[in-house]
Assembly symmetry: C2
Homo-oligomer: 581 residues x 2
């Protein structure tokens, strides 16, 4: 709360009369340290009151944007750039082909160049500087449609961090189409003004007809494993099977995440606000900005799901003439209108604004990157919160291959195998907590798991009902990956770094239902698996003991080896038959 | 990441050649819902790219500011207003006298008027609209000195929330001094521009020579108990014993938190940045903005703790002539300068910029509001992080009165009492988790406890060493209040709502040391307390059995009552003496 320390501007003799003997103003001294100088008076204080640019604010509080540690900064920058590329490709209906490269600057272990290249539609010359060199600038914030980005902060924040730590500008290469001229831009952010300073030049461009490439030099720390760039890209591939991803690490190792489907996510439509999601202040603002000259027209034109009948009903409720001019309504009248809207039954908003992944593609994505026995998914029907549709989806990959399968030799089961899963990053061991992977609008959330509504919902689910162990207030135990996705026109994140989802009751409830639905399907499999496993053990014993039994018979009945073999075989068959599987 | 969805601006025929048969652009349809209209083309996309005002951003993401639920909103607004008043009073060296009132609007249970009134220096007319009607505006952000506010967001955000939920403007009454004219302002925020729209008029003003009063109508929910306005004010009183606080709740009940000391917190001085806390980007910016024409002067004038010798040393290290013009340095040279600064030993920054509470006042504060047996406090010497000094302080109030004290009747101990503590809000029962109270720059942090570095540090402390039970990974158990305070020129909060502190290693380490120090002092007391308690029990037995012993003697030796009484007395004395306490 910064604002009022400028108060003593008119602070005069009278005021200091109040000050206690033991608090003589040491103004002069107290200000000597900083710019101010002199005693507390109008001039000195007035000088101190000033605007704070949003860039200055986020430079000082850059941990709010996910740039608090060199290691995290590298991942956050990659995330923001990849989100951008995918949003652009999908809006232009292009199957995304993304290349991510992280290279050391010189041989430094502390400075890297992060480059993300796409085959997207490219960016028009006039837009490039603002898009990469200005915070709170973009096209998604004001539109009600699902997209990865929603704030207009991310990529410019990454550039700002690069500039802060290396002094280098952001470099952007873009070709907005086959016939257009490819340009390279060098962009700095004037943080005091939150405005870009850019230069550009024409460049040679091979290959692709169109696309964008952004390069940022930044302080960083490159590591593998948990919460690494690799893991992020792997998870990205799970939730975006339509994407072809290539990653080159600082040692030149190339990892490719192959496209799993050529089907683009359903194209999302932009919708108008739903009346039930609108607050009084917003309603007042909409009325001021509306071109419509009657309340009825305003309601029908500026909102979704309001036809003539509903408009009439609302006006009657509010005691307002439908043909009256909305701008003429005073605060009280608008309050009545708001109350009438809330009291009127209105059809839920169109769901065309969101594009859930769907059960089949969730399973396809999991199969592509997680090596398991059993896959199941649940995609809930979208619901509406504050007039914003959202949908919860859950996927489960359970059991390492072989965990509950028998290994046989010549038809005989020799053991219940414990083959090690090929997957290192995602699937934990049978006695470890499950691996929870969280997604919002198809973007993996890799940090702040404990602060996230998704984690709370998973922990609050009783997994014992589905045959898993679960310590109190903790994730369940077992060889399992749980995938949770929220698709929405507006995801309420706990901070600008978009790492965790705020715990709104409506969201927690949908999460609960989705997890229960998937859990039930899992439970059936887990129990069957258990039965099988013990079944196999029993069989094992049979095959183990029969030879001895037969040996005994052989001695007693004095049989020849051929007969013994035959007897063994028959005996086995009989015993197998006599037990139903 | 909003920015690049504006990319298809030059998106031409060539690009759509790439699109797959199964993804025919459904542009027309896909835009039908929203404002856009028509197909994806330069015009439609260009229209969509626009600036997002910081007010629009925080209106949509108001949970980032602590306005996510009606109940929390009421508390957050009070917090921001009280923080403002205290900062202003202390800067003007006035002993604060604050009145907080929450009143229902009409008989509504959903709409309230929050009013905070102070005896501070008042606000000059020209400043009022910006201070209350504009986000990211203030005097504290750019100054390196401890204050409650640091962002320039809080009170204007509260006003914005009020306007959003009730449509009403913020009302401010202010008198900046005995001789000045008292004014009342009515302030609205134009969220699209993040600018105030204000009107003002002269008013009658009784009593105080100077002060400020802010009133905000808002949607809210009033509750008592945990995380209530009462609890917040009670905690505020603990950390600010110099403040006189009066609270009037919606039912007209008045609670007063009496001032515990007339001693104002030490006046904090503004310091210049310390060289070791400055990043390359900031250094470049400082050079551009500096009036100094030589590198040596720049280093000495624009930083703290740099004298001629240190300046010379840095320049030599960097291979830069001390008299060269800083603005002439290229990026590489500045990088060298930065490296030289980091490599040079420089005295720690002056600590006059922060004002820890101090052990005595922490204990005074705890005694004032928490009813306990034993109080202890530890105030660590300030340390420096990123050039910013900060200090950690811990206070402990242990044991409900009587928990380990004997109740006596006529000199005889009749029981080890279990008197219920008078304190309802703060102290838990003996078998409940301890109550942790967190403070940053004397402001109580009441939300997001689990996400806070302070909580992590308390949980990671091994309280068993100090005689308390502690479940794994949880708060210890016992009748105890743990007070933790961080005083700093810049507190890294996890969000703009300033509810939890980010887990920087340097801060966690200082917390650990402070908690251990206080814990040791506690341990001694807890063990002594245990010994006492059992001691009292033993005594009890003596006083219980002696009469019977004497009765027996009486029968055997046939004594008269007087002798019996004397014998009892002697026997007791002997037995007491024979055992050392």
């Amino acid at each position: 709360m910064s604002n009022t320390s400028g108060q003593p501007t008119l602070f005069d003799a009278a005021a200091s009369d109040d000050t206690m003997a033991d608090e003589k103003p040491k103004a002069a001294k107290s200000r000597s340290g900083g710019g101010g100088g002199g005693a507390v008076n109008a001039e000195s204080m007035a000088k101190k009151q000033r605007e704070i640019s949003v860039s200055e604010f986020f430079t000082k509080n850059r941990h709010l944007l996910g740039f608090d540690s060199p290691r995290k900064a590298l991942l956050t920058a990659v995330k923001e750039a990849v989100d951008n590329s995918l949003d652009a490709c999908e809006e232009a209906r292009i199957l995304p082909d993304i290349r991510v490269t992280i290279a050391r600057i010189g041989n430094s272990e502390k400075q890297f160049t992060m480059t993300v290249e796409d085959n997207g539609p490219g960016i028009v010359k006039a837009q490039v500087p603002n898009v990469f060199g200005r915070l709170l600038y973009g096209s998604k914030f004001h539109r009600l449609r699902q997209s990865r980005g929603q704030q207009g902060i991310g990529i410019s924040a990454a550039g700002m961090y690069g500039q802060l730590t290396t002094g280098a500008p952001v470099r952007v290469r873009s070709k907005p189409g086959k016939k257009s001229v490819p340009l390279e831009f060098s962009i700095r952010i004037d943080t005091a003004k939150n405005r870009p300073e850019a230069t550009d030049k024409v460049i040679d461009w091979e290959g692709k007809d169109h696309g964008t490439e952004v390069s940022i030099d930044m302080e960083g720390e490159y590591r593998r494993g948990q919460r690494s760039v690799e893991e992020f890209l792997k998870l990205m591939a799970v939730a975006n099977p339509h994407v072809q991803l290539t990653f080159t690490d600082p040692d030149g190792n190339v990892t490719t995440y192959e496209r799993g489907t050529r089907e683009l996510p359903k194209e999302v439509e932009e919708i108008k606000p739903h009346p039930h999601g609108v607050e009084l202040g917003i309603l007042l603002k909409m009325i001021q900005e509306s071109d419509n000259r009657t309340v009825s027209a305003f309601l029908q034109q500026d909102f979704s799901r309001v036809g003539p009948t509903v408009a009439k009903e609302i006006c009657e409720q509010a005691g307002i003439r439908p043909e009256s001019n909305p701008r003429r309504l005073d605060n009280t009248a608008v309050q009545k209108l708001k109350a009438a809207i809330d009291a009127t039954k209105i059809m839920a908003p169109p769901l065309s604004c969101i594009a859930p992944i769907g059960e089949d593609l969730i399973i396809a994505g999991l199969k592509k990157e997680v090596d398991a026995d059993f896959y199941v998914a649940t995609s809930r029907k979208p619901v509406v919160y504050r007039g914003h549709p959202f949908a919860i989806e859950v996927g489960i990959a359970y059991g390492k291959p072989g965990d509950t399968l028998a290994v046989t030799e010549g038809g005989k089961i020799v053991e219940v195998a414990k083959k090690k899963s090929s997957d290192e990053v995602l699937m934990g061991a049978a006695d470890e907590p499950i691996k929870l992977i969280r997604f919002a609008n198809r973007v993996p959330l890799v940090f702040q798991q404990s602060a996230c509504a998704i984690s709370k919902a998973v922990i609050n689910t009783n997994w014992k009902n589905y045959g898993l162990q679960q310590p109190r207030g903790a994730l369940p135990i077992g060889p399992m990956v749980v995938f949770v996705h929220i698709a929405s026109v507006w995801v309420p994140f706990t901070s600008e770094s978009k790492e965790a989802i705020a715990s709104y009751d409506e969201i927690l409830e949908e999460l609960r239902l989705a997890l229960m639905e998937a859990g039930r399907k899992l439970g059936i499999h887990v129990r069957k698996g258990r039965k099988l496993a013990s079944e196999f053990k029993k069989r094992n014993y049979i095959t183990m003991y029969i030879p001895h039994v037969v040996e005994a018979l052989k001695d007693i009945l004095d049989l020849d080896d051929k007969t013994v073999a035959k007897a063994t075989e028959n005996l086995t068959t009989v015993l197998e038959k006599s037990r139903k599987l």
